[in-house]
């Protein structure tokens, strides 16, 4: 018998006896109604999000502030150019890493720096020396201040985590209300041919492993900038 057969046989044998349904004992409330999870059901229990675009932006902004994400809502391409140039100057960028894409290409042209492009494969040592990784994304999530990226939308797996500063380019239409919407989007956009990597990025890399004191930039980017057109 292979391990596969053995494990499945043990599982099936065990499951011939039914387990009691959850919530019959203790746990704070004694008469919890039985709730049936289903598509979008979590929306009723998760943190509330407003309905309008303005409310969603306000929430994304508030979450960003708490997470130490630098968020800018921009009104036009000129503002994008100004913001990127300001970042380049302030941080003394000398080279960046990026990928193919309309917004990404525009950003790279604006910056006018040497670019380590990931699309046709790249040298990881070269990417490691870049001052920033500039990527597009699939969505922004107001509820949590997250950025949804995939290996297809954001130039692979490493680009958004290896360089010390991750700059995300998004557009207004990409702002989603909540997590259920994010997972709906992943399904509708990619199923059944999903990218091999999907990630919700919520703030710059952090750790609290030393005395539970927050430190940014543990292994991933110290800085996360979200530029939304």
């Amino acid at each position: 018998m292979t391990d596969r057969e053995a494990i499945l046989a043990r599982v099936r044998e065990a499951l011939t006896v039914t387990a009691p349904k959850p919530g019959n004992h203790g746990g704070g409330s004694h008469h919890d109604p039985v709730v049936s999870p289903g598509p979008g059901a979590a929306r009723k229990w998760l943190p509330a999000v407003g309905d309008t675009f303005e409310e969603m932006v306000a929430l994304f902004r508030a979450n960003s502030a708490e997470l130490k994400t630098d968020f800018h809502l921009l009104n036009n391409v000129d503002e994008l150019t100004q913001t990127l140039t300001r970042l380049r100057e302030a941080e003394g960028w000398r080279r960046i890493a990026s990928h193919n894409g309309e917004l990404a290409r525009a950003a790279c042209e604006t910056l006018g720096l040497p670019v380590c492009g990931t699309d046709a494969g790249y040298d990881v040592n070269e990417m490691e020396k870049c001052d920033a990784g500039v990527t597009e994304c699939d969505a922004l999530i107001a509820q949590t201040g997250s950025v949804l990226v995939t290996s297809r939308s954001a130039g692979g797996r490493a680009l958004s985590v290896l360089p010390p500063h991750h700059v995300v380019l998004a557009c207004r239409e990409q702002l989603l209300a909540d997590l259920p919407a994010a997972f709906e989007l992943i399904k509708s956009k990619y199923a059944p041919n999903y990218p091999s990597f999907i990630s919700l990025i919520t703030g710059p890399s952090r750790t609290g492993d030393i005395e539970r004191i927050l430190v940014l930039g543990a292994h991933g980017p110290k800085k996360l900038t979200v530029l939304c057109l």
């Binding site: 004992h25 203790g26 704070g28 409330s29 004694h30």
Partner: protein
């Protein structure tokens, strides 16, 4: 109504004033109180130690003697949890299963009975002191009684109530746990005492004498001037 008062063994022997206070309060409210002599122990020590057969030998008698009671009031949150929550488990799959469930429905811890069954919060008590309240775990989590004791204390004249930080954290008693793992139990008790001291209260109140035995034991050893007192003893003062 006729109330059957269940005074658990250690309250009977060590803390008779708690039971006496309950009798006075219930009678003052116009109820008839009975205390069947042959009901002594709920069987929890054996149950918690894993000896369910031995526990049933004691609990079976309780079940039998209480089956005709109109309402049962238990002078301890922990023993209350035993009757209300654990008897149905203990007797599950036995001939007494139904009886255990029926009994569970009419059992109340004292403060829960006053507030939720009788609808009384003001029993006319007066207690001029600054007090804090410790939630006994069984009363709090098995029985879900957070509010009754506080509602009762709120109506006591001249009493100043201060909530302590981590009022819901265990005092470390835990039955035989206190003897099997005395140093862990003691550490937990010390943490509890420190929370209580921070309030500046003169009294630590609870509705479980077992918690109070643990806390008072530590206070006495530390020669502290802070005292413990059972809720019923405060409510009986006028």
């Amino acid at each position: 109504m006729t109330i059957t008062l269940f005074i658990p063994c250690f309250v009977d022997l060590m803390y008779p004033k708690v039971g006496i206070s309950m009798v006075h309060i219930l009678e003052r409210l116009g109820h008839k109180v009975r205390c069947p002599e042959e009901i002594v122990c709920c069987g929890q020590p054996a149950f918690n130690a894993g000896y369910w057969d031995e526990s049933r030998a004691v609990a079976g008698k309780v079940l039998d003697r209480l089956k005709d009671a109109e309402a049962v009031v238990i002078a301890s949150g922990s023993c209350g949890a035993m009757l209300r929550v654990f008897y149905p488990d203990l007797f599950s799959g036995t001939v007494h299963s139904r009886e255990a469930k029926m009994l569970a429905g009419k059992c109340h811890e004292f403060s829960d009975f006053l507030v939720n069954r009788l609808g009384v919060t003001d029993v006319g008590a007066r207690f001029p002191a600054r007090v804090t309240f410790h939630d006994g775990c069984h009363g709090l989590r098995e029985l879900g009684n957070k509010k009754p004791a506080r509602a009762l204390l709120a109506k006591v004249r001249d009493l100043e109530f201060v909530e302590m930080k981590d009022a819901e954290t265990c005092c470390g008693f835990g039955g035989t746990f206190a003897a099997k793992f005395p140093m862990i139990s003691t550490a937990m008790g010390e943490v509890k005492c420190a929370s209580a001291f921070a309030t500046g209260a003169q009294y630590i109140v609870s509705n479980d004498s077992s918690c109070l035995m643990q806390v008072q034991g530590l206070l006495d050893r530390q020669k502290s001037s802070v005292k413990t007192i059972h809720l019923a003893e405060i409510l009986a003062q006028s």
